[in-house]
Symmetry: C2
Subunit: 344 residues, 2 copies
């Protein structure tokens, strides 16, 4: 047992984290790294939104991945949680556990963090480091207008259901990177036939998910509810439905897929990837029908793809329909298995 | 590699953490566990103080320790950081990494957290859980009057230096609990002759450190600077001196010790424990000379022991004096070693 701090820890913090590249100044950050606590201001008309994620080596990222990519993914998935509340990034804290003080690793990790932190004007303001099995705890703080936080619980009957971007890329990325997937043998794609370009696309999808903060900033005021898709559309939409005590119909043919996703999978596998795969970090949100034209205009203006995939209805659970409105038979293949596991 | 959430995770969160015993309501906590982010308010006249600690099994606590005690220590050491800013607890978030979902462990851990959280009206508002090697990331949020945060950098020449409580207990506790200490062979105490009562005293000192929040609330407005003593007085006072570009003289005979500490160690070992041991979680703070009588009165009123141990002076580093003002010879025994390691 060792005490909690050491000269080595102070040195690591000073060199790689308490530098102006990462713990840069920002209005409202009264005091950053270097005291017992950080001090921040929160404007009177805002809520502070806070979200913490813990990423474990070998579970949430491969131990030997590029440290800059690990850093990028760690911060990006947390920023995605802010986007899901229609909050904008403010600052973050980092708990870094390292087996040893590998300076090359620390340098790359720190630069990867700084790059995304600067992109979103979201400085590092504090945290802790320790010796131990590699893991990354990261808490982002965001600001959101008091009246505009998009909670899971506020969907209304008749609202249209949208998703940003494309679905299913995260599920393919796991396998394309040679990682385990919980989807198991019921899910497959043409791994052998992936072009180098498509392989890179999926690697980027995994390590550089794009938190939909711009969409949240432009159109968050129109969201009645929102969640980010980390566990697959079925599970995450399910959280909105449960919190709002409502149900949904989803037009299965309206689910959006990337070209690489379409190239490497048949329709059934794409549906499995979208509904049960996860790791997509897109937003699933609901919009009152009267605001849908405005939502689509705002999204077009900022060049963000949004797709209307269904509607909030009375009842419980999710019903999947084809384009003609006929129920899709989910007794087939993998659906049954995943549906029962996920919606238990 | 698995995806980030699972039914098991949701179930753990729901049962052990998202319960009214731990994630209880508090004014200003707009939204707690159960959405993509927590939402909190910060009053216009307050700063939000944030401090994160990561505790690793086998480093910061013994793996087989009582989970309630692990929980207590994890939250208490973080609350101590708030006390050091003269901030009061508001809410906290938890990143819990567990090798398996041991329900007995989780129940005790959750109850231990809840007990301290309720004592300080500091509810759990969010976090993350994952499978992996046991570790605990905990971030506390506190509130402090905008003008009254006690930073390390604001000590002034002529200020008196105080510590709360007693020093050295943490260093003895490590050894009394059979844990490793960085103090090594140069430090010893009468482990064999400890009474059961004294052994329990040191165990409590380790697992139930008392964050000096009451002192901070009552008298924090008189602190010109403050830090909590997690690494030993020499190192932590050193942070105040470095941040304030000043030096200190310490009356070595004025350092306060508990009766159990006095019973089991000679003077020299006590000094090593106080200056270089750490894990005491007392406050070291500076007070303008004209406010010292008021400080001592306020501390007496709430029954908290404070000891004036020295003075802020010009220059660099710490000079140790005996009661007659003569320099203490630090070339003897262990001092030299620790002084050179810690003040590097």
């Amino acid at each position: 047992m060792a005490k909690s701090s050491s000269q080595l820890e102070f040195e690591i913090i000073r060199r790689y984290f308490a530098n102006p590249n990462l713990s840069f100044k920002r209005d409202g950050i009264e005091l950053g790294i270097g005291d017992d606590a950080a001090l921040i201001d929160v404007p009177a008309n805002k809520h502070l939104a806070m979200s913490m994620d813990v990423l474990i080596s070998g579970i949430h990222f491969p131990a030997d991945a590029d440290p800059a990519l690990i850093a990028n993914r760690s911060l990006a998935v947390n920023l995605s949680d802010l986007a899901a509340m229609a909050a904008q990034p403010y600052c973050f804290t980092l708990g870094l556990v390292l087996p040893d003080s590998d300076e090359t690793w620390l340098q790359k990790f720190s630069e990867g963090l700084a790059s995304l932190a600067r992109q979103y004007n979201c400085p590092l303001v504090g945290g802790d480091t320790s010796r131990g099995p590699l893991s990354i705890s990261l808490q982002v703080q965001g600001l959101v207008d008091r009246s505009q936080a998009s909670r899971r619980s506020a969907a209304n009957r008749g609202d249209k259901i949208y998703v940003s971007g494309n679905l299913g890329d995260g599920a393919v990325a796991l396998l394309a990177l040679g990682l385990d997937s919980h989807l198991g043998s019921s899910f497959s794609f043409g791994a052998q036939s992936l072009s180098d370009q498509d392989r890179q696309y999926f690697s980027d999808a995994y390590f550089k998910p794009q938190p939909q903060l711009e969409l949240a900033a432009a159109a968050g005021k129109l969201f009645s509810s929102c969640i980010d898709i980390s566990d697959g559309l079925q599970g995450d939409l399910g959280h909105i439905l449960a919190a709002s005590s409502l149900a949904a119909t989803i037009n299965i043919d309206a689910l959006p897929y990337s070209m690489p996703c379409q190239r490497c999978m048949d329709t059934e596998n794409r549906i499995v990837a979208a509904l049960f795969g996860g790791d997509d970090y897109q937003l699933c949100f609901t919009v009152p029908e009267g605001d849908c034209a405005e939502l689509e205009r705002l999204a077009r203006d900022i060049g963000v793809k949004v797709s209307c995939i269904g509607e909030i209805v009375s009842g419980e659970g999710v019903a999947y329909l084809d384009t003609d409105g006929a129920p899709v038979d989910f007794s087939a293949r993998a659906y049954q298995h995943f549906a029962s596991v996920q919606s238990a």
